[in-house]
């Protein structure tokens, strides 16, 4: 009998500390599997953010650096420029990359830094207790928008990968989801491509992943996935939003 699915070498034996049903774990597994498949676990340096993913260094087998809130890409830039032969990726939530770290996210793309960023979009601040994020949907209830997000006073949700896709230095931008086995496979393909873009030195690559937060959404894990399909997918465009000609030939 052959083992057809087991824990990848890219992950340590440490159990994830996320809430039950949180898809952070799925996304981390996919990244770790890609690192193993490309045989770059020893070569890779990850940069962890502040937020639920702040414990990343415990879960990945590769090297890790912790950054201040929102500054993961600035730290990643420094690492990549000092050690250009290493593979560098940042793993950030939507609050980290699209609110506190917006300046870095935009300029890292504008400079075309040869790093890879994974953005986890669950439309809410998870670790701090479910506050409204830039990606919170219109009319969505959070602890700081208890009557629903009103665009008149609180603004509109931001489709961040589309913003990055409009910047010339970004070579590859994909928006994917982990709500179903089919989309999980697509997510893995996008992450693999993003790392290959970096290896080929073609520019900045970003993969935005629609994720769930059952605890702060107040739903069961199974209902959360359906909520994501019903509410987030119509707002956040999925697919490969940007691919330069060089990337298409990879």
């Amino acid at each position: 009998m052959k083992k057809v699915f087991s824990r990848t070498k890219g992950l340590t034996e440490v159990p994830f500390t996320f809430c039950p049903g949180c898809t952070h774990g799925t996304i981390m597994r996919l990244i770790a599997e890609v690192l193993e498949e490309l045989d770059i676990i020893e070569n890779t340096i990850g940069v962890s953010p502040v937020g639920c993913a702040g414990f990343s260094q415990d879960f990945f087998s590769c090297d890790f650096v912790g950054a201040a809130h929102g500054r993961a890409q600035a730290v990643g830039t420094g690492i990549k420029r000092a050690l250009p032969h290493r593979t560098v990726f940042t793993y950030q939530g939507d609050g980290d990359i699209a609110a506190i770290g917006t300046q870095h996210a935009i300029h890292v793309a504008a400079r075309g830094e040869k790093i890879t960023s994974i953005m986890v979009n669950n439309a809410i601040y998870g670790m701090t207790g479910g506050q409204m994020a830039p990606t919170t949907l219109t009319d969505m209830k959070t602890s700081t928008s208890p009557f629903g997000r009103d665009p008149v006073t609180m603004g509109f949700p931001m489709d961040f990968p589309k913003v990055i896709a409009g910047i010339p230095g970004a070579a590859y931008v994909a928006s994917v989801s982990v709500d179903s086995p089919k989309n999980i496979q697509k997510t893995k393909n996008a992450i693999r491509k993003a790392f290959k873009v970096q290896q080929a030195g073609l520019g900045f690559s970003l993969v935005s992943v629609l994720s769930t937060c059952p605890t702060n959404w107040g739903l069961t894990p199974v209902d959360s996935l359906q909520w994501l399909r019903d509410n987030m997918m119509p707002v956040y465009e999925l697919g490969e939003l940007k691919m330069t000609e060089e990337v298409a030939q990879l």
């Binding site: 009998m1 083992k3 057809v4 087991s6 994830f16 809430c19 949180c22 059952p214 894990p221």
Partner: protein, 67 residues
């Protein structure tokens, strides 16, 4: 014979495997792990087809699949 094995220390009882299993043979048992979660288990290994959908959706990488 295909089989799905839940590694109990990783399971958090989220039920995503129970929902996705096409043969409906995953269930939450009445046994708890060291953290106090009621662990998922395969209740009828004979019916398992080794599709690994349960392992694919498991956010805690708690399922090994053999085929």
């Amino acid at each position: 014979m295909p089989k799905a094995v839940v590694i109990e220390k990783y399971c958090k009882s989220c039920s995503l495997c129970v929902d996705i299993c096409p043969k409906k043979i995953m269930a939450i048992s009445d046994q708890t792990n060291e953290k106090g979660y009621f662990v998922a288990t395969c209740i009828d290994q004979d019916k398992c087809i080794g599709c690994a959908l349960c392992a694919t959706v498991c956010p805690d990488v708690a399922i090994d699949v053999y085929k």
